[in-house]
Every structure is written in C-alpha cells, then in structure tokens.
Amino acid sequence: MALHILKRPETEIQALAQALIDAKQQVGLCSVCFHLSAEPVCEICRNTNRDDHTICVVSDSRDVIALEKTREYHGKYHVLGGVISPMDGIGPEQLTIQSLVRRVSQQKPKEIILAISPSVEGETTTLYLGQLLKPFTRVTRIAFGLPVGGDLEYADEVTLARALEGRRELD
C-alpha cells in the first residue's frame, strides 16, 4: 500500500493522511462489547432485532467481522482485545474480562459461545473463561477444525458457519 500511495500527487496524500487521522480519532470502542465503533454503543449492540440471550466472545474485532459475514449468528458479541499471554504481559486484567463478567451477571444470557483461536494462548483463554463463567450460565465453544496455527480471521465463511452449528459444551 505504501508504494501505491507514494505514486499519488502530494495533495492527495495529504488529504488521505488527514482522513486516516480523523478515522482513528473517531473510531473508538463500543462501551458494551468493545467492538470497533464510531458511536459510544455499536450498531450490533443497538440492534433490537438481535438476540440478547447469546453472547459470542472473541479475541479481536476482526473476528466479529468474520462471523458477521456468515450471517448465521444473530446474538451479541464481546471483544476481549487479545488473549492471555504472560510472555507479552497480558493477563486477564489486561483484557475486557471484568466487563464481560459484569455484563453476564447483569444480563443473564442463556448461552455464551467462546470463539477463540485454538492456539496455546487462545486455548488457555477459553479454559479460563469457561471456569469463570460456568457458574452463571451455559458456556459452549466453537468446535472449529481450523488448521493448526490458523486463525478465525482466515477461516472461510462456510467453515465458520459450520463451526457455529457444531459448537459444543465446554467441559
């Protein structure tokens, strides 16, 4: 992208730079689910047609976008903002886990779907959340047969849709 931009006239680059800065300032995080949003509460959280009884927990906003493309999921989301990784100084406190627990204890959803990549860190995050949330409600996880090292982001829509159907109880 950088090379492509360098070929454009300078005025155009200036305009683009300003647009990027504006976008960065405007796009914040939804105060409910922490998905990227220009408004204090995102479109998905505001949408009254969506099922309030299911929360799908993902590590990253990109996962929300990937799951939305499947059009199979009609509940709400919660974006953790990463996965547990002590080597990178990321523990549960660095993620939006406290807010999630608060949200769950207040809203009392019927199901929480954990859709976190099956890496060592993702798996640990899934286990951690499972233990934390099971006292509140039913917790399931997406049983995705994604390739080793594959991320949710790269899974095609069919794979994800199938994964949603095949989710299983966290034991």
Partner: protein, 371 residues
C-alpha cells in the same frame, strides 16, 4: 527410499551445487572445512527440519546472501517427490512439496527420513540429559511427524507458564486462577509428550540391546530406559494425569520461589546403562562408541519398521573412528538396503571392495567434483 538429486543454493559455503546420487553409497572426500558436513546437514534439514549443529537459520545462509534454498528429488515406493526448504537470513523458513508451498511444517516432515551419525553423537553418552532428549525428540519427529507440533505446543506452554511464574515471583501474589489454567495446559500438553517418548523408547530399547550384544560380542548388556520426570506406576492416562497434577502441587512453593517450571517432560532423562552401570561412568571411548553405534542402528531399524521404507544414513566422519570390527558390523547391517552418505578426509581406511561399489565425490571449497 532413495535420494536421487540434491540442489544447494547459497547454503553454507555452497553457492550453487547440483549433486546426482548414482549408487547406494556415496563417499564425500576432502580436506577439513571444505563442505562435507554441510552437505550432510542439508539432507538432515530436509528430513527433520532441524540441524544438530545450528539452531539459527541465519547461520545456514551463505555469508553475504539473504536467502538459501535446499532442494531434493526423492524416490519412494509411493512415487517421486520434490522437496524444498527455503531459509532466510531475516525471516521465516518456508517449505514446499512438488513446488507447492506447505503451510504446516508438520506435513513436510516424514517425507524424507534420515539417521545422522557423527562424532558429536558421543555426547549422547557423555553429555547432559538435554542431549538425550533432543535425540529422542528428533527420532520421534520422524516416527510421527505430528510430534513436531506436540512438542512445539508443550514448549510454548512452558515458556508462557515460566513467564507467569516470574511475574508471580516478583509480585508476591499468593495464588492465581490463571496459574491453575496454565497447570492444566502443562499437564495435557506434557502428557502427549511423555506418552510418545515412553512408547518410542519401549520400541527402541530391545533393538538397541540386540545390536549392542552382537557388536560387543555378548559380553555387555545395554539397557536404554526412559526416566520421566513425572513417574507413574502404570501407563494409564488417568494415573499419569493424577501424578502430574500431584507433583505440580507438591513443588508449587519451590516453583514460585524459583520462578520457573520444575515439573514436566522438559526434565526427562533417558538412562543408558551397561551392565547396570551408567554408561557415562563406564568404560572406554571405544565402549561408548559401541553404545552410540548400537543406538544409531536401532534408530535405522525402528524408522524402517514404522515408516515401511529404509531411511538414509548419514555418516559424518565416524567410519574412520571405528575399529575394523565395528566398521564391518556397521557395513554388514546397512548393506545396500540403506542409502548411505559418508564423509571422510582419507579414502585409505576404507575396504577396497567397498570403495569400488561406491560413488566417490571430491569436495573442495564448496564445490563438488566426481572422480
């Protein structure tokens, strides 16, 4: 299996070198520091994606170059495969089969099988437990390529758990919910490693003992024994899990104090004993060589049995170090069944019959000439 060609580009001291292997045995002859071991190392890399001499890809790339490529054509009963491995000075390596990039390195392993035997292997007897773990792990990767993934996962859990223990150590936290989860991860990843190591040694030990008996003239009894850090009375999964968890909690205070993981297969040992005495303490260099030779022959047989085809044998300098009796034992064992690449500085110590049946390549300053 038969390695037909090897193509080295910007690899170690080679610029661009094609090699056609024309006989079941190839002898690479040349002075010191000419590139003999480098060529064997290239084959070892294609087989295991590891090198016993180097852990950094940047060392493998020819000085002054950014990229290196090792390619080979391999004939197996199932057909002919082109393998290639691209190494980068800065960046990740990539692998391809029949010119198609393979995303998981696991799918590349197990195509070419090779047993490496060099004078460094004496460290199997003399060195610390980590040498024997690395040896066993490298063998396992060839027996079950999925083990590469299993081991990588375990090591990742270990690094993460160590980082957490360090953090707990410096913050005086008492207990941690997060640590409980990492414990579970350590146990489940660790058990996968333990069970496979245990299975491999169970298969290897009797074969090695047999070889050792025949080489030493049945005066000595070799015992190869897996001594895991987490010990159980029986191999049952539940038992192992239980023992692992109990050992973690019994060492909890020490772990938090030291800020590192003290329990798990990263502390395993493989015990080598001759006539009930630890081999390290026992005997002469010659006896230790016999032991290593027996282990290597056992590796060959085991891979052949499990994979269903005979692996390559890479003999780096060792032949000359063995006395005639052991040389003959080795040559008898491999015959023409195992394609063998041999390095040496002198052809003098080789049997004349043998020389006649072998392809001889002269290695000089990163170039190979047949002669």
């Amino acid at each position: 299996m038969y390695l037909k060609t090897l193509h080295l580009q910007q690899f170690r001291n080679y610029q661009e070198q094609w090699v056609d292997f024309l006989a079941p045995k190839t002898i690479l002859v040349g002075n010191n520091a000419q590139g003999k071991s480098n060529l064997l190392e290239a084959v070892e890399l294609l087989a295991t994606l590891r090198s016993h001499r180097s852990t950094r890809d940047r060392d493998l790339v020819r000085e002054g170059e950014l990229m290196s490529k090792v390619s080979a054509t391999l004939e197996r009963q199932t057909g002919i495969t082109d393998l290639s491995l691209t190494l980068r000075r800065n960046g990740r390596r990539t692998v391809a089969l029949n010119s198609e990039n393979i995303r998981r390195q696991m799918d590349f392993l197990g195509i070419l099988n090779a047993v490496q035997f060099s004078s460094l292997d004496l460290d199997l007897v003399r060195g610390g437990p980590d040498q024997r773990r690395t040896w066993l792990d490298t063998l396992l990767i060839q027996l079950e390529p999925v083990y590469a993934h299993i081991l990588q996962q375990y090591n990742q859990v270990l690094r993460q758990r160590n980082a957490l223990l360090k953090k707990i150590q410096s913050s005086d936290e008492q207990s941690s919910e997060e640590l409980t989860v990492w414990n579970e991860q350590l146990v489940s990843a660790g058990i996968r490693v333990i069970r496979r190591r245990s299975r491999a040694i169970a298969l290897l030990a009797p074969v090695a003992a047999n070889w050792h008996e025949s080489i030493s003239g049945s005066t000595e009894v070799l015992q190869v024994k897996y001594a895991p850090n987490v010990v159980t009375a029986d191999e049952h999964l539940d038992e192992l899990q239980q023992a692992f968890i109990e050992k973690i909690s019994s060492r909890a205070i020490a772990e938090q104090h030291q800020g590192t993981t003290l329990v798990g297969p990263h502390r395993d040992e493989v015990e080598l004993t001759i006539n009930q005495t630890p081999a390290r303490a026992y005997g002469s260099q010659g006896q230790q060589r016999t032991l290593v030779l027996a282990l290597k022959l056992a590796e060959l047989k085991l891979i052949e049995e499990v994979v269903g085809e005979s692996p390559l044998l890479l003999l780096d300098d060792v032949l000359a170090e063995l006395d005639l009796h052991r040389q003959n034992q080795l040559l008898d064992a491999i015959q023409d069944r195992f394609q063998t690449l041999i390095t040496t500085t002198h052809l003098g110590s080789f049997d004349a019959q043998w020389l006649k049946a072998s392809q001889i390549l002269h290695v000089q300053a990163g170039e190979i000439a047949s002669g």
